[in-house]
Symmetry: C2
Subunit: 360 residues, 2 copies
DNA sequence: ATTTAGCACTTGAAACTTTTGAGTGCTAAA
DNA sequence: TTTAGCACTCAAAAGTTTCAAGTGCTAAAT
């Protein structure tokens, strides 16, 4: 709390009003906001000269920045932060968007398919790249192997948190029913409780142990699982091209850099590290530890059902993003995901190997 | 065959050499090719003046074009066509590329997953957007329904040509084993022989007929299938952002237009209509019926196994694409697909409903 | 008859210059 | 405390010049 120019917490009402207007005008126009347009657009009851001196103070306190001396002002990271924390009103979703979400996210398919749907919807509504990552600390609970035909097996992996993933294994050889049973129990014995991120390692161990027993069939199965899971660890990336809609991306080099960045696992990982309690995580511009992300804002939420963490959804866009709409849309998605999407039902669990009996 | 300036078939050797050089220089440099650079780069044994007058003739005959009067020449559609048909030498794939293809395309997963792998590999090697479409005249041969847990069913669709597609249905209610059997036979009775593109319609009919019998479970199953198949009809689009690598896309508007175009089902469909016998189809620039494609070249091939047509792969890029590398890469992919990828095996067919007995 | 050196001409792109206008900070009056 | 007025700044747009790569044609050379 410095004595002279006050800290974040004590902007007077007029300053708040001005800061809020600058942020909103800039989000809308993408042009630095000048004192005159500000007065006109927002019907402020002061002359541009007054506003000008207020803006200067706001700049001195770090809420606004000037691209160059004869330009208007642009919010700084601190400015956006203050706006998001104290000034922003959450917008209501339009009926159109609500309908679109409800009609498109329907819960069909395995967990990844649902994640993909969600990412697509979000990136469409918000016109922004959207990334979903699975919770890979979730552990394998149960594996089923089903014979589809002579040389086709279907493998279903169910996780403790209730996600489902299926994959097809093509066999180089035919397989007996009892072999399948044997294989299934070996897989379950060895893999139950394994976190998804360690699955690859665990599968290698199984191969080493049991390869000879099944004349290559186990090998086929395990390779299929491996392949399928390696795909899963990739991020579900949607709508990267949406970034082109933003006026800050007129330069093709910037676009390329952005696409490279967002395709780089490490950078995305670093962006997504912390999401605390049940809130949205909002990391603005230079708040991002990763330098390459310093011009962007990342907003993330945890996808949860019955307190089980299934994955994380994030949108990445320029700092100048529509915070209000983004936040309210993501909150709606979070709510919908946790209440009305059947990914995981308590009474739909399978304990052990083949407990088909249920509890009705 | 006009008497005066000859038609496509009788360019003399020198003209062929020049045309070939212009095309190759232009593919490499993306700059209009002038007489002087042409002589230097290609060690032609004539002065630039001679080449100049030859180039003028080639222009008059329609093989070359001049962007403006003081610029070098650029191949016309006719020029590229002549080059591809008569002058081009197919390049050999680098060991690097061959390794990459062989290590990445591994045949794991269902048919769509394999298609996706292929599209990704091709777009990476050729740095060009790649589209795969399924053969949707293929018909359903057999449907299996497997109970995974109390409220989870797994549905596997096998087509006549041997492709496999699986999807998960989440039930709103629990299900008895005998219900599953009944449902499976109803599905098979009603859907066997249905072409994939008519599946949606056929599914609606099944719902109308049998909904009441299964208290909503059939409904859940059918909706899952519908959803899964609607995804499939979408094109498998890969590497759209690769278009940014081309110098013709410095303008962001062009990029946007291209992305819009390639996301438009109708345009892609029109581009992919004809592929005759077993050859690559190469449609250059204005040979495309669709006007929006007139600046692009589309090269397609049919993905076949044992004479069964499973889908079509196409790359779309600027007319100025590396025809030689593209064509040899695609031929390699085609060969690999038809010989070493197990999508469909004669002895892996399932006739009728649940012939688990095999023929060993 | 071909080929080529030479030259006048064209024109887009790059480099430079000028103009314009939106914006500023400061001062003095209200 | 507010504001009208004004000199000043500077990026962007518009306009200008220069430059270089290219052309076609002609007349001389092979």
């Amino acid at each position: 709390m410095s004595a002279k120019n006050g800290d974040s917490m004590n902007l007077d009402e007029r300053k708040k009003r001005i800061l809020s207007s600058v942020v909103e005008d800039y989000i809308e126009s993408a042009e630095p906001v000048g004192s005159k347009t500000l007065v006109e657009k927002n019907h402020l009851d002061y002359s541009s000269a007054t506003i000008r001196s207020e803006m200067k103070l706001l700049e001195e306190e770090g809420y606004l920045e000037q691209p160059h001396i004869s330009a208007g002002r642009v919010p700084s990271t601190k400015g956006y932060r203050y706006y998001v924390d104290n000034l922003m009103k959450e917008s209501k979703l339009s009926m159109l968007d609500i309908d679109y979400i409800n009609n498109t996210i329907n819960g069909f398919g395995d967990t990844d398919a649902i994640f993909e749907q969600i990412a697509n919807v979000v990136s469409k509504i918000l016109s922004t790249p959207t990334v979903i990552t699975r919770n890979n600390t979730d552990t394998i609970e149960n594996i089923k192997v089903v014979k589809i035909s002579e040389k086709l097996l279907l493998i279903v992996l169910m996780s403790k948190n209730g996600t489902v993933k299926d994959c097809i294994a093509k066999l180089t050889d035919t397989v007996e029913d009892n072999v399948i049973e044997q294989m299934t129990s070996i897989l379950n014995e060895n893999l139950s409780g394994t976190p998804l991120k360690e699955l690859h390692l665990a599968l290698n161990k199984v191969i080493q142990k049991d390869l000879q027993l099944f004349s290559g069939i186990m090998n086929d199965v395990i390779n299929s699982i491996k392949y399928e899971m390696s795909k899963d660890l990739k991020k579900l990336n949607s709508g990267v091209e949406k970034i082109l809609e933003n006026p800050e991306f007129t330069d093709i080099e910037k676009v390329k850099n952005f696409i490279n960045m967002i395709s780089t696992k490490e950078i995305i990982d670093s962006a997504l590290q912390k999401t605390e309690n049940d809130k949205l995580s909002i990391v603005i511009g230079s708040e991002n530890k990763e330098v390459l992300l310093n011009d962007y804002t990342v907003i993330s939420l945890d996808l949860k059902q019955d307190d089980k963490y299934l994955g994380k959804l994030s949108v990445i866009g320029p700092k100048r993003m529509d915070y209000s709409k983004t936040i309210s849309t993501l909150k709606y998605i979070k709510e919908k995901f946790s209440t009305s999407l059947i990914i995981n039902k308590n009474n739909d669990k399978v304990k052990g190997d083949n407990s088909e009996e249920g509890r009705k």
